[in-house]
Symmetry: C2
Subunit: 226 residues, 2 copies
């Protein structure tokens, strides 16, 4: 498969490299087509690796990962809006900033996730929020962590979610580990969890961990209000 | 110990009843001193159970649980601000509302948790955020769920957190299950997780579950940015 990866940070590099391992053709996109880090990565992973602008990488892929820093995400997606039309875009970004008083917080307001803002910036793309709740290395090698730890999907397009699941399974996630949270508004909950994830990182002492959930045995069904 | 419990909803009743089981004296506080539900509860749990207004329950307790609905929380705490002075107040509430478009969201903005707003409403109280990330029944009987599932503390007063830990251990939480997230600003992350918790409830099919975290084996230390 031809896949575009937007963003050359830790997440973009980890995903692009894993996709190469899985025999996909990958174009790594950045602001300029001559980003030195991207060129070095492509040289190291020839012949299936290439580099381009965000718009070129979006045009290249039949499938696109958005891995740019949350603070730049809307500009990145707007710059690739046309070539993203009709394509599945997996958004891994988080709307994290440091407040004036030094506390890490979300820069979104409570009524929209960053994923929804990106969908608005490229209305014809088929956005799926995924993988934003774990560190890059665990995203692409979930077998590092024992047990049925979880990753989440949110999106409005059922076919796009099915395609995303298939790619996550290539990364090593089992079907039972992939939880569909609902439509794209559910990305609000996956992004909000990042605040707790950062605190849990402090507790664990490194980011190579993930959450799992254990239900009480024998509990009766009781529908959620959401 | 004499303990005040503010709020007669599911959480207030579960905590008050558990405290009675543990041989504490409990006053259940509500808006009026003749709340029928509170009176029925006290009659059932005589002689260590009593009822009063929020301010009376706050005055009664050497230790206070805040269990009122998030939407009423600031009024409740403001009405008991004076008797709460100097006391440990465990805040279990969540700033949850349904938006105009039907999505459940937080009514706080990103720069302050409800716990911080309650601390501002009763500046001399010693607030600790705790237990807000789990359903009432699991708060007070964590043994229903297998494994080292977690509960969180956030607060500015180390002594208040130590006292809160001791009470949580009476409920059945082991020291390893109680994670100190940091100062009261860390309550933002525990409250934000509620959005994911509600979605996970939908996935599990009932609210009798909790999260645990599994680290990768052999990972090196890497300090969190928060």
């Amino acid at each position: 498969m031809r896949i575009g990866v937007l963003g050359t940070g830790m997440v973009g590099e980890a995903i692009a490299t894993r996709l190469i391992e899985l025999q996909h053709e990958v174009m790594l996109g950045s602001r300029t087509a001559d980003n030195p880090k991207a060129l070095e990565w492509a040289a190291h992973h020839a012949p299936n690796a290439s580099v381009g602008t965000f718009a070129q990488a979006a045009a290249f892929g039949t499938f696109v990962f958005h891995c740019a820093n949350g603070g730049h995400a809307e500009k990145v997606i707007a710059s690739a809006s046309e070539p993203l039309a009709g394509k599945v875009v997996i958004d891994t970004s988080n709307p994290i900033e440091r407040s004036a008083d030094g506390v890490v917080q979300l820069f979104t307001d409570q009524s929209a996730s960053l994923a929804e803002r990106l969908q608005a910036a490229a209305p014809k793309a088929r956005f799926v929020k995924a993988l934003n709740t774990i560190t890059a290395s665990v995203m692409v090698h979930p077998e590092q962590i024992a047990g049925d730890h979880l990753t989440f999907l949110a999106g409005d397009d059922p076919g796009a979610k099915t395609d995303t699941r298939a790619l996550l399974e290539q990364f090593g996630w089992s079907p039972a580990q992939i939880v569909d949270l609902g439509d794209l508004t559910a990305a609000r909950s996956a992004e909000a969890y990042l605040l707790l994830w950062l605190k849990l990182w402090g507790h664990v002492g490194h980011p190579l961990f993930n959450l799992s959930i254990t239900p009480a045995a024998g509990a009766e069904a009781h529908a959620s209000p959401v």
